[in-house]
């Protein structure tokens, strides 16, 4: 299978995401100005500071030409993973519910955190072992997940919260410790932690690999159908 990783001006973690994807499949970089996904099987919207986070994190990137194709791809059921800035972009684009606000302490935070896999019933978490927390780093300025109460209830009822920060590990004030949510159709997923920075024992943990392995397995199932 082939992943496509989008590069906006100001993306920082796109090569890291590409390297992580390449541990489970092929991966190429997609240019923000091209309305072309080059036939990839899954799209990753990576971390960084697209357009300098000017105006609001993700607010400008959602208007990039490539995002028209990403929205179309998602509507057709394609798998889209948004990491950190990518999560912000997908929320701004209306492909994911809720919004990300500045961290509660108004500072950038880097930290290795522990995540609870709330649901492994998704193409993004199916390879995660139940009851085994994931150790994955966060690094962001705008990662405090917010949704109005009725939406929060709905997310919970529809099992759309896939990852939560473990008790005591919420680094940013996110409501209900939410670290990652998917859309109602469960084919678009955004998370603030960086699974692409947890794939190599040399540089940290390898718990992020499960996310990429999940996507690979889900795509393989679909291709087999």
């Amino acid at each position: 299978m082939k992943f496509g990783v989008i590069r906006f001006p100001g993306s920082c973690d796109e090569v890291d995401a590409q390297l992580a994807c390449q541990r489970v499949g092929e991966a190429e970089i997609l240019w923000h100005a091209d309305r072309d996904l080059r036939g990839v099987d899954a799209v990753v919207v990576p971390g960084g500071f697209s357009y300098g986070d000017y105006l609001r994190a993700g607010a400008i990137a959602r208007f990039a030409p490539v995002m028209v194709e990403v929205a179309e791809f998602a509507r057709a059921g394609g798998l889209v993973l948004g990491i950190c800035n990518g999560f912000q972009v997908l929320c701004e684009a209306g492909l994911l519910p809720g919004a990300l606000l500045d961290n509660a302490n108004l500072r950038f935070v880097f930290r290795q955190v522990s995540l609870v896999v709330v649901s492994s019933d998704s193409p993004f978490t199916r390879a995660c072992e139940p009851d085994r927390p994931l150790s994955i780093p966060v690094k962001h300025m705008t990662g405090c997940y917010y949704a109005p109460p009725e939406l929060l209830r709905g997310l919970q009822e529809r099992d759309q919260v896939l990852l939560r920060y473990a008790p005591g590990h919420n680094p940013n004030g996110s409501l209900r410790d939410i670290a990652g949510v998917c859309n109602a159709a469960r084919n678009v997923f955004g998370l603030m932690p960086h699974p692409e920075h947890a794939v190599d024992p040399l540089t940290g943990s390898i718990d992020g690999l499960a996310i990429f392995q999940s996507i690979r397995a889900a795509v393989a199932d679909r291709l087999a159908v």
Binding site: F49, F108, F110, M141, H194
Partner: protein
């Protein structure tokens, strides 16, 4: 021959002495025009011309087998094997940060990044060395908070990891904080590029941001004069950073180099276009014609002198063959980055600047770059006078050893830096093998399968006590940090932060410190490949401690075996390696006790220290050890406590007879632990295990208590 008119003292306002102005008039055979005077005043400033430090700096050894580019280029470069080079440099942004800490620190990072990609290397790591007044001072807390936020804002946004650094708090930095930033970059050796312009007829292309009034005169007004009253009024001289513009400029510049579209490349830093163009022309032995009307401006009505000296950030200057200009412009458009031809290379040897069809400057390149007078320092050792007031005592004279250890761990200089480094991204680019607090040096994996190690160090208080020995210690301390992860040093960069060199005692501190660095470099076989000098770090009420900051880069064969500082396994033996003969001179415990600053520092037993480094490095690379940590500030007591806290495990140690647990000798002693068989032949002093640190007959403190003291030290203030 025209003479200096007594009524015309503009040159003084621009920082030139009467003698320097007379020299300019003599060389030109006329008075300089306004634009020329502005250009010359900056190129002849201390910041650009090193006129008070050049002679002294010649003492530093700059050659070594791994050196690919030495001092004089935008950054030094060393060979790390398999066709790869590592570029690195440290630079100060002290005065701007003292005036406006957020932007001062942010643009300090931006400037050092451009130095690195100007030689064709992709920046892969940033480190910072910061000095502030005591955190009990509101101003110091403000400067710390804002400088750290500025570094985070810029470094995080451009996608370069901040992997290490150091912070010291001393009253001497209350008015003059220090913000030194170091960057490392990686490049295939074949893609390294120099700044020398070449080929008359080739086109000078300005890349990046618009040129505005920010930073006008930054170099002369801010960087080369003492701080004084009314510094808030200098704020317009501090540059404003835009990391998004820098990120695009970085990617775009590297793409242009990869496509082999550039003949030379240079960043615009202090003194803006004037300095960049002069250095390119001087390096290539050519002339440059620049047309100010073609420089894209942020606002209308800039005078030509403003255009020539503006320090607007995120700009680069390159030389391109005429038939490749269209390709360069197209590649830049893709990155939404401006590329504007603004002039051409000539064979005139002159810097000619036109504005509105008028020639506003026509100077020999040599007068800009080479003719600034170099001043000999008049060093005098201060005898019988105390240059710095004794610090106030904060530790009771009858404090027990346990109380002393907890006070040291919680002191501003030794407490955990977690609150600071958590604001930086240390892992972007997927190279970081050892993160902050995991080891004594940061470790970055190379595509060759080997790894780089990097550390930055400099203890100003110890240099104030004994300039030569203190500066040498900084080099040894850096080398010790590299040793503990298993790295062999390849080269170093230094930033010399001192007071006013025209004062004899400062001149003495500077010459002694440089001599100390030179001796240490020769003893360890480590060349100086580049650096920066920041003088005049004085305010009316105080002068900083003399603060040479050393950034050292090394190479290790196996990143998976890179050393860690934490005690790992109960039952491991702990050994003390090295000729460790510390004293309390210049130590943290002496500071907490309110002692006067006084030397001498312990005498460096160079051969024995080298042997100790080799022993530890060999054991780390063999994978024989479970931890390696050098003994630095706070002595062996604090070093042991740090290993315990990091590992969450205790230790029981019998110190060698007479060894003061808090006395210091930097870069000379190492703590290592591992199975007994691995430590054969070493001086075993104790064992890992339990939940307390016990120094037999001296103290016993629970690890949890040590951790709480260390974690709480800065949290009290932030």
């Amino acid at each position: 021959m025209p003479t200096v008119s007594p009524s015309d003292q503009r040159h003084r306002q621009l920082g030139l002495t009467d003698g320097e102005y007379a020299l300019i008039v003599q060389q030109l055979g006329r008075h300089p025009r306004d634009t020329e005077l502005a250009m010359l005043s900056l190129m002849w400033s201390e910041h650009c011309a090193y006129k008070h430090s050049r002679t002294t700096l010649r003492r530093l050894p700059t050659e070594g087998p791994a050196v690919l580019m030495g001092p004089g280029e935008n950054a030094g470069v060393v060979d790390v094997g398999d066709g790869l080079g590592v570029a690195f440099k440290v630079e100060s942004h002290n005065h701007p940060s003292a005036v406006e800490p957020f932007q001062g620190a942010a643009t300090g990072v931006g400037g050092i990044l451009r130095d690195i990609f100007a030689v064709g290397a992709r920046p892969i790591a940033v480190l910072d060395s910061l000095r502030f007044g005591e955190p009990t001072s509101e101003r110091s807390r403000y400067l710390l908070e804002q400088a750290v936020a500025g570094i985070a804002h810029y470094g995080n946004s451009v996608g370069v990891p901040t992997v290490g650094g150091e912070i010291y708090f001393e009253a001497a930095y209350e008015q003059n904080c220090l913000v030194n930033a170091m960057c490392l970059g990686l490049a295939p050796i074949g893609r390294l590029i120099r700044s020398a312009a070449a080929g008359p007829g080739n086109v000078l292309v300005l890349l990046g941001a618009l040129t505005g009034r920010d930073g006008i005169g930054g170099a002369s007004v801010l960087a080369s004069a003492e701080l004084g009253e009314g510094d808030a009024a200098k704020r317009p001289s501090v540059q404003i950073g835009d990391p998004f513009a820098e990120k695009k400029l970085l990617e775009c510049s590297l793409e242009l180099l990869e496509s082999e579209l550039l003949i030379s490349l240079q960043d615009l830093g202090a003194a803006g276009l004037t300095s960049a163009a002069s250095e390119m022309a001087s390096g290539g032995g050519v002339g440059l014609d620049i047309d100010c009307d073609r420089v894209p401006l942020r606002e209308l009505g800039l005078a030509p002198f403003e255009i020539m000296v503006s320090e607007s950030q995120e700009r680069m200057l390159c030389v391109v063959a005429p038939d490749r200009v269209a390709e360069v412009v197209a590649a830049c458009e893709r990155w939404e980055t401006r590329a504007t031809p603004i002039g051409e290379v000539t064979d005139s040897g002159r810097m000619r600047v036109r504005h509105a069809a008028e020639l506003v400057a026509d100077l020999p390149v040599s007068i800009l770059v080479d003719d600034c007078p170099v001043y000999d320092l008049a060093p005098t050792e201060p005898v019988g006078v105390s240059l710095y007031p004794a610090p106030p005592a904060t530790l009771a004279p009858d404090a027990s050893a346990a109380e002393t250890l907890l006070a040291l761990l919680g002191s501003a200089n030794l407490a955990s830096r977690r609150l600071v480094y958590e604001q930086y991204d240390p892992i972007v680019q997927s190279r970081t093998v050892r993160r902050p607090d995991e080891a004594d040096a940061a470790v970055l994996a190379l595509p060759t399968g080997e790894a780089l190690a990097v550390a930055i160090d400099g203890n100003g208080r110890r240099v104030a006590c004994d300039p030569r020995a203190g500066a040498a210690e900084a080099v040894y301390e850096c080398a010790a940090n590299l040793t503990c992860v298993g790295a062999t040093p390849l080269g170093l960069t230094n930033c010399l932060n001192f007071g006013n060199p025209e004062k004899p005692h400062v001149a003495w501190q500077l010459t002694e410190a440089v001599e100390g660095i030179a001796q240490a470099c020769r003893a360890l076989g480590v060349p100086v490949v580049g650096g920066n000098v920041s003088l005049y770090n004085e305010a009316p009420t105080d002068a900083i401690y003399p603060t040479p900051v050393i950034g050292m880069v090394g190479r290790l064969p196996d990143p998976a075996r890179a050393g860690r500082l934490r005690f790992a396994r109960a039952g491991d033996a702990i050994a003390l390696v090295g000729p460790f003969a510390p004293t309390r001179a210049g130590s943290e415990v002496a500071k907490l006790s309110g002692h006067e600053l006084a030397g001498p520092l312990p005498i460096m037993q160079t051969a024995a220290v080298r042997d100790a480094q080799d022993t530890v490095r060999t054991m780390v690379n063999a994978g024989a050890l479970h931890n390696a940590h050098d003994i630095a500030e706070g002595g062996i007591g604090v070093a042991l406590a740090e290993c315990c806290v990091a590992g969450g495990i205790g230790a029981r140690v019998a110190l060698p007879a007479g060894l003061d647990p808090f006395a210091e000798a930097l870069g000379q002693g190492f703590l290592v632990s591992g199975p007994d068989v691995a430590l054969t032949g070493l001086a075993i002093i104790g064992r890992v295990g339990g939940d307390a640190l016990e120094l037999e007959g001296v103290l016993t403190v629970a690890v949890a208590e040590l951790a709480a003291a260390r974690d709480g030290g800065l949290a009290r203030f932030l």
